[in-house]
Point group: C2
Chain length 304, copies 2
């Protein structure tokens, strides 16, 4: 079936109340691939890096079933670099440095063997790149998940609306949903956004959980209250990777199964934030995952 | 059994994106009593008003089973008055006027027939008043629910800690839980606050739902995503009234039943915000309540 992930692979320098790490491996496609690797071993990654990127990190991705044929390595180029500092409440952050480097020329070309992928995750990139990836697919996929952010709503709304129209599941945060729809009520915002084309909308609310909408249903997945949030970087990408990984594994596009996928995505996000960078998302065991998902059941189950 | 509610009965002038209402009936004890009245008709209200208060509003409370023997009416006095304006996002508000009026001299004396009440709801008042009410009880009640706010954490922490130690369920919002505990993580905050005495802690997160903690369990109740939030005033009080109303009706203090009570409380809060003041919380039918609770089930139920 094949789960295609398109997005950034990067170095991040991250500071939070728990300390600071320098130039650790990050990027949406990397996070999402690790998260998805707990559900499927048929992952195809499309991204761009410089030749400054550590080989052992690439080897580790390969060992998880991630096909790196679509990862362009630019000779003499530098990988995308981001530096940021989280506020003490972990809900806000300041970006200190954004060096696009090789990402500035990212124009993804899908290897032929990726063009029949069934489950597509388009990480936060320019909408034109997201559209170009969709246009290179040679069969209509089962599900296209599109992530985006406020920046593209501001500066590339027309392209973004075209990309949204082509996707099946849009994932954005609550602030972005309000911005995109012009509606404060998330119920009204969801209705307007679903009218833009996607069949499903996931509104991510960070520590407050996530909402899944289709035209007739709404489901709320809480975030697990955690003792320690060390580093929120990549949480949304791990959510998306876990979400689509579960869908790819089960090949079931019903709302009931989407709900499960949101829970698995939330579980992956809850692991990701427990340590800096990709440390924790690489070390999860299937037993830990099962226990974590049980914790979500305990957190939200009640009988009347 | 008897559900005793101690708190304010007031006039409110409220402005939100949906309009403005002048001097409508409000106050925590009033909201909580209406919400509780859907579960029990043995409610005892203790508060203070001036003789400016409309008789028909008092009659309506009586008709719902609310005993007003403990409602002191001060001849020539003016009822507590609050005016506020909600921000467009409904999550913040500015207080424009707070006229304590007769509330400045509130020193509640429980009528003898109230002193054996089994379920006690102490609305947000000075901690000393809350303590004085508890001390007037002649039998140990089944459950004391205490509401408070940041103001008392700031200026009356010692008394507040004494009141918290005497209660069984503390209800506060997430910001206050962090302030009271000095912990950012709500898991750590909950552990510290439970060490202060209560068996249960409810952390209210407004549009993001509510968390229920005891020493071994945590439960998350989502807030229902609504098309229209007209006026959040009293939502927390209706939550508390619905919560304790359900407990009083079922007389079951297990964590499983507390979870149900949180859902019923959330349902009452979701009604309260649909119109200004007490308009909506007075008009709910049992059928609407059943449908609303079903909506909470649909919102959060999933199977693995």
């Amino acid at each position: 079936m094949g789960l295609l992930v398109v997005g950034t692979v990067a170095f991040d320098t991250i500071e939070s109340a728990y300390g600071k790490v320098d130039r650790v491996v990050g990027g949406a496609a990397q996070y999402a691939s690790y998260a998805a690797s707990y559900f499927t071993e048929d992952i195809r990654l499309v991204s761009i890096i410089g030749d400054d990127f550590p080989q052992d990190e690439l080897e580790e991705l390969r060992s998880r079933g991630v096909d790196l044929k679509g990862l362009k390595v630019v000779k003499g180029g530098k990988s995308f670099f981001w530096a940021g500092k989280y506020h003490d409440d972990m809900n806000g952050r300041d970006t200190l440095v954004t060096d696009l480097n090789v990402l500035a020329d990212f124009d993804p070309v899908l290897p032929d063997s990726f063009k029949h992928s069934q489950y597509i995750l388009l990480g936060n990139l320019t909408p034109d790149i997201q559209i170009s990836v969709i246009e290179q697919l040679e069969v209509k996929p089962q599900l296209i998940v599109l992530d985006t952010m406020n920046f593209w709503i501001d500066i590339a709304l027309d392209s973004l609306l075209k990309a949204i129209n082509l996707c099946d599941v849009l994932t954005i945060n609550d602030e972005e949903a309000r911005m995109l729809s012009g509606e404060f009520s998330l119920v009204k915002a969801a209705a307007k956004i679903l009218d833009m084309g996607p069949d499903f909308l996931i509104i991510k609310k960070g520590e407050h959980g996530a909402l899944l909408f289709d035209r007739n249903n709404v489901f709320f997945a809480p975030a697990l209250p955690l003792e320690k949030v060390v580093d929120p970087t990549g949480a949304g990408d791990c959510f998306a990777g876990g979400f689509l990984g579960h869908i790819a594994k089960t090949q079931d596009l019903t709302f009931e199964n989407m709900k499960r996928a949101v829970i698995y995505g939330s579980a992956m996000a809850s692991f990701a934030v427990e340590d800096f960078g990709n440390i924790r998302i690489k070390s999860v065991t299937q037993e830990e995952l099962a226990r974590r998902v049980d914790a979500f059941v305990a957190l939200s189950a009640f009988t009347l």
